[in-house]
Each structure stands twice: as C-alpha cells, then as structure tokens.
C-alpha cells in the first residue's frame, strides 16, 4: 500500500509543526507545501525544516497553490491558514474541487454550522459532489472544551448542564499572541481594543457550544459571550510579555448557551501570562451535572500548540476513511495518537 500523501497549505507555527510531526510518523509523506512568503519559493521543505530527507520524495515549497494542490496531488490537504470559516472557505472549495480531502485547523471550522450555516451547507454539498471529506479540528475548539465533555457524557443517562473551563498560560507564546491578547496594555486600552476588534481573544465558543448542543440533542435559543481583562496585582514577566501591576496580564473569555430559557452550557477560558504569580493553577476542567455527575480535572492544561498539531495529524486517517461530506468531530471515530504505521488505520 502506498503512503498516505499530504499536501500542506499554510506553513506558520501550526503548519510547519504539523509537517514536523508527520515527518516522524510511518506510512505518510508530504507532497508539497504552499507558503505565502516568496523567499521560500522552490525550496525543499526538508531543508527549511532542517530535517534529513533520507529516501523520502522531495516536497517543494511554492507560493502558488496550483503547484501544490491539484487533481491527484495528494490524498488530503492540511489547511493551516485562518481562524474564520469565511476566510478559509475559498481554500477548502478549491481543494475539494480537486478531489482532495481536507482537514482544517480554523477554529470556526470545528463546527461551522454555528456561525456560517450557509457556507457549511455549501461545503457539505461540494464535498459530496466530489466524493471527499472535510473536517475542522484542533485542541480548542475540537477537544478540551467540547468533544471531551461530550465523550464523558456517554456514561450519563441524563445531563442537566455542562461546564468546561480551560485555564492556560500564555507565557510560552510569542510577540504576536502577546499583542492579540492585549498583554501589558492598560485597562482603558483593552476596552478600546475590544470595541475596535483589535483584540482577538479566544475564537471558538459558539462552535464548542454548538457541538455540545448537537450531541445532547439541545437547540440553543440564546448564546452570550464576554471578554474581560485579567488585571494583575503584581508585575508579571514572560519571555515575550510584560504586564505591570494594574495593567492587563491576560483575557478572561466566558460564554453561556441557553436551551428553552435554561442555561445549559457554561464555557470559561481565562488566558494569561504567568498565572502562578497570583496563585492561579492551570488546567482543563469539566463539570457535568446529571446522572451521574462528572467532575474532571486535567492538570496542567494541554498545551494549545502541540495539542492542535496532534489533533490535526491524528485525524488524517479518520478523514480519509469517512463517508463524503462536511464532518465534525461528532461524526468520526474517537481521536487518538498514532504510534504505528498510519496506513494500518486506513480501511480497505
């Protein structure tokens, strides 16, 4: 059996991280890379990553997607370029029309029906028409604040409410994340940043809530989301961030979903640099009220970057095996690490 062939679209921190992990796995090869920055045009991906190519086929980097994704070029295309469905939609459409399966790490793609029902319907139609599968996944949305809680509910006869809380540290992240999350700015600047959309916060609450609700069989009739500054009482310093006492050390994102007027889903996601400095323990927490109750803690939290890279790599065989159409993590078998040959997971 031939290797699973993967085309990479997007080669930032996530795309190149996915490629590096794929290079360590058996039964899979990368066929080419599309990267915007023209300075890598025509270079070998292996050279750029600093990985010995060995007897693997060459994988060249191009700015032009038609040199990387075309009919027969690959079994699946990993798209690691955007956060929003609307932005990634034309890329997915193009890959699907080449008859190539897609896995996207755009946060909104984990449950595109939540905010883009028309684009979701169109992707489903296109995927079926071309006999391929499209999936969005990642660590959050994709696992820690949705699928994991859903999986726990499998041992419950009744569910009253679902609370997912992800308390993570932004300290490992670089300057871009510091800026997007408002690390070190004043409370007044934070409030302005929320208003003018310069602060991104977490993308994915509507998607996590939508996925949980679909699994339970709930229809959400009200959804609310808040974004508040985490004001530090002490000076905090991380490799790329600094917040002095009284300024913003992070952002506390919260959301609630209501079903028939009752709050059923509660999502809490404070992200900050150096949380330990004020006694905050990081972790992933799930509390589900019902029969029986679930009371889970995973400490410390799963690293967002590695987690998203892993989810994307590990779902590749499930996407290839799936029936055609737009899928979510609800539709496919449970995700899992792959320590053997990836081809062993492909159904004949």
């Amino acid at each position: 059996m031939n290797n699973i062939r993967v085309a990479m679209w997007g080669f930032g921190a996530m795309g190149s991280g996915i490629a590096e992990v794929l290079c360590r796995k058996k039964g899979v090869e990368i066929t080419g890379v599309c990267r915007q920055n023209p300075k890598y045009e025509g270079k070998s991906m292996y050279e750029v990553l600093g990985i010995e190519r060995g007897d693997r086929p060459e994988a060249l980097i191009h700015t032009d997607i038609t040199k990387v994704v075309y009919k027969g070029a690959a079994d699946i295309c990993v798209i690691a370029t955007d956060s929003f469905t609307r932005d990634v939609f034309p890329k997915i459409k193009y890959a699907v029309e080449q008859g190539i399966n897609v896995v996207s790490i755009a946060e909104e793609m984990s449950y595109p029906k939540a905010q883009e029902p028309e684009l979701a319907a169109e992707m489903d139609r296109l995927a079926k028409e071309n006999g391929v599968t499209v999936l969005g996944t990642g660590i959050n949305p994709g696992l820690m604040m949705d699928l994991l809680a859903i999986c726990f509910s499998g041992c419950m006869t009744d569910v009253e409410s679902v609370m997912c809380k992800r308390v993570n540290s932004l300290s490992p992240f670089g300057p871009l994340v510091m800026k997007e999350q408002g690390i070190g700015i004043t409370v007044k600047e934070f409030e302005e940043g929320c208003k003018n959309g310069h602060l991104s916060g977490h993308v994915g609450f509507a998607e996590s809530a939508g996925m949980i609700a679909e699994a339970m069989g709930w229809k959400i009739d009200k959804f609310e989301q808040q974004m508040k500054p985490i004001v530090t009482g002490v000076d905090r310093k991380s490799p790329y961030g600094f917040a002095k006492a009284g300024d913003v050390a992070g952002v506390n994102m919260t959301a609630q979903a209501y079903v028939d007027g009752v709050q059923r889903i509660d999502l809490i996601h404070p992200q900050q640099i150096e949380p330990e400095m004020e006694g905050t323990q990081t972790g992933d927490y799930i509390v589900i009220k019902g029969t029986p109750n679930i009371n889970m803690a995973n400490t410390p939290e799963v690293d967002g970057g590695i987690g998203t890279i892993a989810m994307c790599v590990n779902m590749i065989p499930h996407v290839i095996n799936a029936r055609p159409g737009l899928k979510t993590m609800l539709d496919l078998p449970v995700p899992h690490a792959i320590m053997g040959d990836m081809r062993d997971m492909i159904e004949k």
Copy 2:
C-alpha cells in the same frame, strides 16, 4: 419516521435498568423482553417495571427468545446476559441471523479479539453476511479504563505509556457482588477462591489493553494480570457487606501490557467496601506519558451500574448507523448522552 425498536435479551439489574432509561427517552420503544425466570412469562414489561405504559405499544416478557427476537421484530437487540464472549456468542449469532443489530454489555465483547479472535472473526463475518452491526460496550471495559484514555491521546504527538486507575467503592452493591468479590472472607479463603475460580474479580483488562494497543498501533507481546486481597485494618460495614479487621474488604486487580519488551500499559483497579474508612479516595485516574503529558482525575468515580446502562443506551443510534460488521468503540463516533429524540441521531 418510526421509533427505534429495541428488543431486550436479559432483564437482570442491567437489562431492566437499560429498559427503564429507554422508557424515559424520546423516539425509541421496546418491542419485547426475554427473561429466563418463568414467573414473568407473558407479563407486560411496563407492569413489572411499575412504569405507566401510556400510548406505547405493549412489550411482553417471554422465556422463549424466538417470541422476542425474530426477523423484523426490532432494529436492535440489547443483550445483557453474560460477561464472556464464549457464553454470549450463540445469542449474538442468533440475533444477527434474524437481521437484527446487537449491542452487548458482556465485558469481553468490548474487544473480543483480545481473547477470542476466532469468535470475533466469525461474528464479523456473520454480521456482514446479514447486513447488521455488533458492538460490545459498557463503563469498564468500554470507557473509563480504555476509550477515555484513547480520546485524551488524540491531543498527543507521541505516547510512551498509558496508566488507567479506577478506584471504586463496592458499598452500593448487593449480596451477589459481595460474594463474587470475596468481601468478608479471610485471606486464606481469598487465596483458595482465586485458585478455584470462585472469585471473579474484574473482567476486562485484556480487552482494555487490547483496545488501547490497537488505537496506538502497538502489538502486545506480553500481558500479565494479578488479583490480590485488600486486607482491611479496621472493621468495615456496608449495607450488604462486612469485613472485620484483618479480613478481605475488596480485591485489587492489576494488569500490565508490554510492547517489544517495554511496559506500555498499566491498569489498576482496586474495588472495596467503604474505602474512605482507610483514607482511600475513589476516582477515575488517567496518566499518559508522552508529548504532552496527560494527568487526569475524575472524582468520585463514575458509578459502574449507571455508567454501563448509559453507555449501552447511548450507543444504540451509533450501532444502527454503522457499516455492517463487528465493531468496537474505536470504530464508532464518540459516545454521548441523548437528551433529545433518539431518531434525530439516525442517518438517513
């Protein structure tokens, strides 16, 4: 769309519990019950359960399976009669030959390849020949010491080892469980009971290990299992059990699986009455070493009885949707509670 129609085979604590939960769900109905005890012959299941039948179709109890499971009788048959694949195999074969899907809560059926590869192959062949699906599930094996760890590994790029620990209380259980687990006997009697097979302990370690190994792509080359008495230092009393200081208050089951000579899977499952009396906190714990590490606790543990009932009920739509054959929890979408109409989960 018609209700999902379920035939019940076995009506002990688990079978009747599954039926009670199904009676509270929308879009599903029970078509009949097979129960060994002749004193219920011809009675209404609703009368026996003490549930108002309302406008539901009648569901009669019979000792003769041919009156309950026959071609066209139901969409799926829930078999809640045995723990071992060898014992439940003829029942599964019969139901499958009637063209009816099967969900079994026999512990070994959660991963029958582990100990009965020939029967597993035969069930797969029969299911495909008859165009139906067979699944074994439950709380353990089925979720807490296998599928849940597997799901967590989805966010990992590399896995070195998997440890699942389930510390539960036997206090809620009745006289039969007290006897099977050796509660209140002396250490000498316990050792004899292990030798002559009178003490059952936990059934399912080989299955949990097999499921984890298949997911990771590991081939187990050595599997070991131990069964030791939990000797109490104080008198312990539960509603149906009593162990005086120095006697057996429970059983500590452990197992290890090796891959290429390295221990990769570690399963630890102490079960006892009144664990709090000697400072033992009950819970489900998962530690996965790799990139990143997972360190999970769910406290207290999920109740085994309710958990198994829920898993069985919640997997019914997934089994009906699946392609024909013998499946495991690895093959089907993630389990989840069903609070809406069960028919909404059925693919058209």
